[in-house]
């Protein structure tokens, strides 16, 4: 029995069924096979709840990882005491967020957590990258060749368009900047979007036909060869 359940065909068939059914239902108007038929609606509600039920996966994975670090008393990539601190924070936020007593998602305590810790810190985390943009602009953004020069020129015009200071140079800057954005850049992005669409088409068809099973284990069996 276990051998049958272990077979890769079962998940592939499930993927194929869900994907193909939804695609067909999207296009047809039959009373029993359309986007608004009861079965389609039920299937979507089911999928949505199923997706949310994965909420604990990341949670458990990170607990396991850091419990492992602590039990092995590792020093690299970070000292195990930091892992201990991580688990403490995890426990505190979880307790504050669960509906126990006066706690819960809408409680003042959780508002504290996201207002004073998560919101400013996550913003700052991404803002750190802006410092690197500054250093990249200085160090890497050289007009070494024609390509780099054109790119540099376009960036500077767009920067002048985005900042109010550009208008001091005249209205042509803003005009040129918006033209660059809405004509050549738009066209380039359109080509990129079309190609990205093809990328997802290819991946989807490979998954549906079971040629691409990487997502089921982490990666394709047998590696890349």
């Amino acid at each position: 029995m276990a051998l049958i359940l272990k077979r890769r065909e079962i998940p592939i068939l499930l993927t194929a069924f869900f994907a193909v059914y939804m695609m067909v239902a999207y296009h047809l108007t039959l009373p029993w096979l359309s986007e608004t038929s009861q079965f389609t609606k039920d299937l979507q509600t089911f999928s949505q709840i199923l997706g949310v039920m994965a909420l604990g996966l990341g949670y458990i994975a990170i607990v396991r990882l850091h419990v492992g670090y602590i039990s092995r008393r590792i020093k690299h990539p970070q000292h195990w005491l930091w892992s201990l601190w991580l688990l403490i924070v995890l426990a505190i936020v979880t307790i504050v967020g669960l509906p126990l007593g006066s706690f819960g998602v809408r409680s003042a305590q959780l508002r504290w957590v996201y207002d004073s810790v998560l919101l400013p810190m996550r913003g700052a985390m991404y803002a750190v990258v802006s410092f690197y943009i500054a250093s990249a602009a200085y160090r890497v953004f050289l007009a070494r060749n024609k390509e780099a020069a054109v790119m540099l020129g376009c960036s500077i015009i767009v920067m002048l368009t985005n900042a109010p200071v550009g208008e001091l140079l005249g209205t042509w800057v803003g005009g040129l900047g918006s033209w660059l954005l809405s004509v050549p850049c738009m066209a380039g992005e359109r080509a990129l979007a079309i190609c990205a669409g093809f990328g997802s088409l290819v991946l989807a068809w490979r998954m549906i036909t079971g040629r691409e099973t990487g997502y089921l284990r982490g990666a394709r069996e047998g590696g890349a060869e």
Partner: protein, 283 residues
């Protein structure tokens, strides 16, 4: 001769922390010296404002949030300004506003803005009559698609637990066809909203985009999938001017000027240094 060479060579190797220091200085500068410059309203923001202004009376508008905590630092200007405009439309035109989120953070973020504007249910007795906050909708595309067909199946209650059937604002609104407009504020792309609302049902969509995603959204704007777009912090500042309520956008836009000047100066210096070194055969 040898001396100049070493100066330019040194300049290319300067510790990046000096650049960071320069950046800190110009970021903090506008808080001490008034450097504000006049802001010209761009066509994109004007179109956005006009589109909302021309909405007929009594429209039903979904004000959808898809901003992460990380993106909020940039999107605060737009988020607050659009919310203000929504409430203005609610008062003046009797539009019904349905606030909702599309990711984990977006139950709390709109709540925070409602508190800030004095429109939180504990502060405003009108809550539920003309506007509602539905909380957040999990499931990404699958969730959106489901919500579009059958709102009450997946969000039977609002963010504070009141059943939707008890809220007068939700009367007669069961599916996306009952909604006249979707506004979507994003920090991670608006593809899901386009593919779940616009493509199958043709619901008009306005997007408030983080500046980084503006180029990526341009083809969709051009193809008419997005009706109008507000771009980055500048869009936020311009909308604040259009609704005549200046806020965080107009404070930070000055910083955009100063930081951009410094960055351009960095680029220029680096390139001058590079060309001088190149002409001397140093590279």
């Amino acid at each position: 001769m040898a001396k100049t060479e070493s100066v330019w060579a040194k300049m290319s190797k300067v510790d990046r922390r000096w650049l960071f220091l320069a950046l800190w200085i110009v970021i903090l500068l506008p808080y001490f010296v008034d450097l504000s410059l006049p802001l010209k309203i761009t066509k994109m923001s004007q179109d956005y404002y006009n589109y909302l202004n021309n909405m007929p009376k009594g429209s039903v508008i979904i004000w959808g949030w898809d901003v992460s905590f990380a993106g909020w630092s940039e999107m605060e200007a737009q988020g607050v300004a659009v919310t203000k405009l929504m409430f203005k439309m609610m008062r003046e035109k009797g539009c019904r506003i349905i606030i909702m989120g599309y990711r984990e953070e977006c139950g709390h973020l709109p709540e925070r803005v409602l508190l800030q504007l004095g429109m939180h249910p504990t502060q405003n007795p009108d809550y539920g009559k003309m506007y509602v906050h539905l909380g957040w909708l999990p499931g990404g595309s699958v969730g959106m698609s489901n919500f579009a067909k059958n709102m009450r199946a997946v969000l039977p209650k609002d963010w504070w637990g009141t059943p939707l059937d008890n809220l007068p604002v939700m009367k007669g609104i069961n599916q996306i066809q009952d909604v006249n407009l979707v506004i979507y504020i994003e920090s991670g792309g608006c593809e899901a909203a386009i593919s779940q609302y616009v493509v199958p049902y043709g619901t008009p969509l306005l997007v408030c985009a983080i500046a980084q995603n503006v180029p990526g959204n341009m083809p969709r704007l051009d193809a008419g999938l997005i009706k109008a777009m507000l771009a980055g912090i500048r869009g936020g500042a311009e909308l604040e001017m259009l609704i005549k309520e200046l806020g965080v956008g107009n404070i930070n836009i000055t910083g955009i000027s100063t930081t951009h000047i410094v960055l351009m100066a960095f680029m220029l210096l680096a390139n001058i240094g590079y060309f001088i070194r190149k002409s001397k055969g140093e590279t």
